[in-house]
Symmetry: C3
Subunit: 225 residues, 3 copies
């Protein structure tokens, strides 16, 4: 890890701003995990577990890969308590939360944008190459949702062709970050631009039901689901 | 990690007593994994894999999080061989093991108590905060069972509302340990008390079918399972 | 980790030969992941994710266990790009790839042999005991396939009794390596012999449908699948 990288990148946002953004992303991902838990008939502990895993799973994976142990999820008490708060809210208010599903989706898109940028930046700070940093940024953004679906015994919605684009906005955001790093243009402004781009792309994908293609000349050997 | 913590906590049990307790916990968890493998029609290797994963998965996760690599599961040969022994027993004797399912459940409850206390203690020794240590103690106790169910392609029984309380006894045991640490009262006696409390709570939960509530005003969007 | 071990073992193959063998193993495993993704109707990103996970998951697990972070999957660009190439090939040509399923199976058997030997060797280089090194070699060889099946929401084919032997060839190959280490006979020739033995055993298992036994006196509590 180059000391210079760490110094330059840590000035991106003030620590308190970055921490607040992280907590917002964690909160909205936790809401999505808790809602799935309610739909699957899990009890209150199942709701809390799925909220924690969805919110912290992606960052946990990233921190294990880059060797940042113990991971932030286990050193920052706020990271641990925020998903519990989200689980409590869903536990008591979930019909109301369901009713504002559109709002939840918007926040989830914001979490996607925040996490892909923060994950890419942290991976690069720990010495990974540019391509690998972007990959780990993507994994940070989508990893929690994949773990959520695996624990709920469902096919990860990330992988399904019949869901609106989710990976592409995160890939675009992470790619913008590494291009900025490559050309020495990373600043709070360009980082914020990457977050907003991923966020807006995800909103557009939901609005217009953008989907990714399946294999060419596909002759499915399983029934369409 | 504070050197003082490590010194104080290592005197809790004599190493050989702690090791024997660990092996007992590993053995009973391995039995539960092997039994599920038989029910799922897995072959002898599937039985061995599920026994290993159930017995060692929780501790493996804890050791990766706290940076204790290679994890105990890969340095202590007894930890590795004990699940194989359990798998062999189930392979040859499983109708008999099934018949004493009550006995298996009692041992599994003992494993739950032992692992939540040992996991919390080890996490604190490695420098985690009190809340995080208790969380990791809980993860040590229930992590293997969750991995077992994920590999068997079932919804983790930890998360299901229609199963008797499993997380709560481990949470109580882990909380007792961190309270003892906080008030400087951790000793072999108080540790044993935490193990026994978690153990008895789990037995009572099974005896009286205690369950945790689902979300308030739940309007399920999936069929009851 | 003993410096002597590292020195001796690194001379097994020349680095470039070892790297080429690794890339071949990664490529064929990625093909098997991508093919399953097509069968499950995943979109192009799902195909890429499953290719990456299948190809790199086993080695990633090994590297996390032995503390080799960041794992090779995130430091070697070739390791990351090879699965994407496999995913692209399957995306455009999958009916043709399906048609040569026999060829794919032969390559997958080659990957199994290469990975169990390379995984065992690397684990031993990092200071694990002989039994644990062989176990981790087995995990390296089969871990990616297990992750592939978990993400695709299927029972891991490794565990199913109705699939031809997969674990046994890898166990034999890994055991040969640790026996060679034990008796100071590890050389490029004996390593290659272990690879070929695992490879041929897997081919024979597929050719003659060798299967492992299920539990004795099994009275299944689930329907035969």
């Amino acid at each position: 890890m180059s000391g210079k990288n760490v110094r330059v990148l840590q000035q991106l946002f003030s620590p308190s701003v970055q921490h607040t953004l992280d907590l917002i992303g964690i909160f909205v991902f936790a809401i999505s995990g808790a809602l799935l838990a309610v739909r699957k008939n899990f009890d209150v502990f199942g709701i809390a577990v799925l909220a924690e895993v969805t919110a912290l799973g992606g960052g946990l994976f990233r921190d294990l890969i880059i060797g940042a142990v113990p991971p932030a999820a286990f050193t920052d008490l706020g990271y641990f308590l925020t998903p519990l708060l989200a689980a409590l809210l869903v536990f008591f208010l979930h019909p109301h939360v369901e009713r504002i599903q559109v709002g939840v989706n918007v926040f989830d898109a914001a979490g996607l944008g925040l996490f892909c940028v923060a994950g890419t930046t942290k991976a690069y700070e720990y010495g990974l190459g540019l391509t690998q940093s972007a990959t780990l940024g993507l994994a940070t953004a989508v990893g929690g949702g994949v773990l959520r679906d695996v624990l709920a015994n469902e096919v990860p919605s990330l992988l399904r062709w019949d869901r609106d684009l989710y990976a592409v906005p995160a890939i675009v955001g992470a790619t913008m970050v590494v291009l900025c790093i490559r050309f020495d243009m990373l600043s709070p402004v360009t980082s914020a631009l990457a977050v907003v781009t991923a966020f807006v792309l995800r909103l557009l994908a939901m609005r217009f039901h953008w989907r990714a293609p399946r294999a060419w000349n596909r002759r499915s050997t399983v029934r369409e689901e």
